[in-house]
């Protein structure tokens, strides 16, 4: 039951973004310091320890872009919305949700732009493919560029010796 109220709190929290930092920090605090005994008997499979929660929360906050600040991640940004979203991340970690689920939740609300690590898709695969192809080309190119000329030279030298 507590679990549900937590989720509802998250929803209302979102609609009342103007309430400012108060609710955020309460949530943040509860996420960081409260022992979430009730989460254990809930249906959610995963339960994170406090350190796990902190590390994962910071990690997720680092991979998401603050909707307000100019090119800063949620972790570094000090805008109000960033603190609220950080609170939201910890709330969802309390619920035992996975990193992917939390990031998906954020993407649904704020669009692809919030993700600093672009999702692999037909639009973005070039980002990884181009560097890999270039590295392979460089290695293969060097091999073919250096080897044949050498052989040719060796042949020339050999014939000279004869």
């Amino acid at each position: 039951m507590n679990w549900h109220s937590g989720k509802m709190a998250a929803r209302t929290h979102f609609t009342q973004a103007t309430q400012g930092v108060l609710s955020t920090v309460l949530i943040l605090l509860s996420a960081l310091f409260c022992i979430t005994a009730f989460a254990q008997d809930s249906l959610v499979a995963t339960h994170y320890t406090d350190t796990q929660k902190r590390d994962m929360g910071f990690e997720i906050a680092r991979e998401l872009r603050c909707p307000m600040a100019v090119n800063q991640n949620l972790f570094d940004s000090q805008s109000k919305i960033a603190s609220e979203l950080k609170g939201q991340i910890f709330l969802m970690l309390d619920e035992g949700q996975s990193k992917a689920a939390i990031i998906d939740f954020m993407v649904v609300r704020y669009g692809e732009k919030i993700r600093y690590m672009p999702a692999l898709s037909s639009h973005t695969f070039m980002l990884w493919l181009i560097p890999i192809i270039l590295v392979l080309l460089a290695i293969v190119g060097l091999f073919f560029f250096v080897q044949p000329t050498l052989k040719a030279q060796k042949l020339e030298q050999d014939t000279l010796h004869e």
Partner: protein, 664 residues
Amino acid sequence: MIPEIGLILLIISSTLSLILSTVTIIGIKLDSEYLLSYTKPLTTLMCLTLVCSILSLAYCFLVDDFSVAYVANNSNTQLATLYKVAAVWGSHEGSMLFWVVAIAVWAAFIINRAPGTKQHFHHKLVAVAALLIFGFCLFLLFTSSPFTRLLPDIPIEGRDLNPILQDIGLIIHPPLLFLGYVGLTICFAGAVAALLSGGLSQQYARYLQPWAVLAWVFLTGGNAFGSWWAYNELGWGGWWFWDPVENASFIPWLVSTAMVHSILLTAKRGILGSSSIFLAILAFSLSLLGSFLVRSGVVQSVHAFASDPTRGVSILILLIVFSGSAMALFAQRTSIKAAPITFSLWSKESLILLGNMLLVIAAISVLLGTCYPLMFEVITGQTISVGAPYFNSIFIPLTALICLLMGLAPLQNWRHSTKMQQPLILMAACMLMALTTTWMTKESFSVWLLLGLFSSLWIISATGLALVQRAAIKNDENSTDNGSSSLRFYGMCFAHIGVAISVLGATLVSNFETEELLRMGPGQGKTLSGYSFIYDETQAVETGSYSAIQAQIRVMDSQNQFVTYLYPQRQTFKTNGMEMSAAGIHSGLLGDLYVSMGQKLTNNPGLNDNEYLIRISYKPLVNWIWLGALFMMISGVVIVFASKKSIARIHSPTTQREYCNELA
């Protein structure tokens, strides 16, 4: 009156630069010593007029002449004198002027110390540099003149210099970076001059070498200092964020690193001249492209200052004209079958060549990631972000590959392959050490940590092995190598160890940083990594330019001994009401204690309303990142002096004869 003099001087120098290049080019064509004798005085004159021009701008800042738009926008009567001087390059127009002036000074220095040769390499270089100066001057005069007046409504008080820039960083970081770009400009001029003289011969490469290394030293310093500045001042604890503005200066650094290696290789062995030329052209083009990205405002950045879309187009035109013509010349003058390959696959040459290619690929990847959101938006209309996690996923493996080559190359012979036994054993040992360390220290296995640890361990041990081998060779036979070449070798080793130190620092701070984000008020405390942080009190601070609240945080170590006080601040600037946070940092060789102060947590009924969101962290070895850069810079300077010596040797009559014999 003074600003008009500055403007006229700028116009005069642009005319002089055109005359200088025309006279020199015609002089070379006609082989007229008489015409060429004008090159030196004309360059000196152009340099003097440009220096006087920037001095008159500095004078306008010092006397608070707010009728000049640039001064009114970037200065204020309240501003400290030192910052008034630094404000000259604090924004777009002035920094472009600084760039042009520095090209002229550097060119004048070169032509006045040039040895008289038949090929007129230095004259050609100065002629190309003068054309570049002409282009930049036109750009300044027509789109961004720093001397534009605000008449007749002269403001009584200037807008302030951007508060973020009011820091010691502004005095050092931009000049270093611009000097690096200027060095790349000179290398570009040198590369074009070499193309006009039929390719980069060993001798031209020897002329270019000190300037290339110097450009690289400046760029290294500019990047490292910029990162240090952001870490200390921006108050978000990052030392590198892969922000577009950071990338804009990092990409030219990567390519210039490749360029330096290539030019040193050409100077030493006389091979791969065209790859050196190509890299020099590429490095300069990328520095212009970086300026375009930063100054046009097409990218979103935390460090954005002075962006204006109208200038972007002019920079793009400059880029197309300069790089386009140079590339066209390169395509015309260089044939693919230029030189026979005189080295085998496992020789030092191929490893350096591969390393250079990887550096350029790294630069291209960073450029791709930086520009991808722009292209994506243009093509699909949707917005995406490409940020730090992506860049790390590409850049760390590439760096590891480059580090592998960095350790391997000094152990290889020139031309032929060496026995690979020792290096392979060493490599395996490093890998084993890195693996065990990774397993022991982290719960979950981290590939990034493994790669970083291996890279730094491998570079340090392999460089050590190379030094030992070299010493052994020296003791064996009364070595034939001279002082300057062994000085260069030690410089190279020192620079590589610098890279290892930076990599180690970056790896450890990324993987072992511990941090907490929490609310704190007077009397509260928190323990982190064996240190206790105790919030003593909140204080109010008043300075000339801002008022701030700061937290006094006492730090005790595990034995409850007092370590230091930290004072993170939230500053509000008086002139424009901008809010900033400045971190409190206690630096040590082994790690930094870092505290930054967030928002005040008010409207908190029932709770103490004097609490702030505080972020505390312990950053192990973070200073090693910049220590490594310092190593690189010092070794660069050593190499510059070593190559100066070797140039002096070339031009002494006896060695010149030997050199000719060697060539024949």
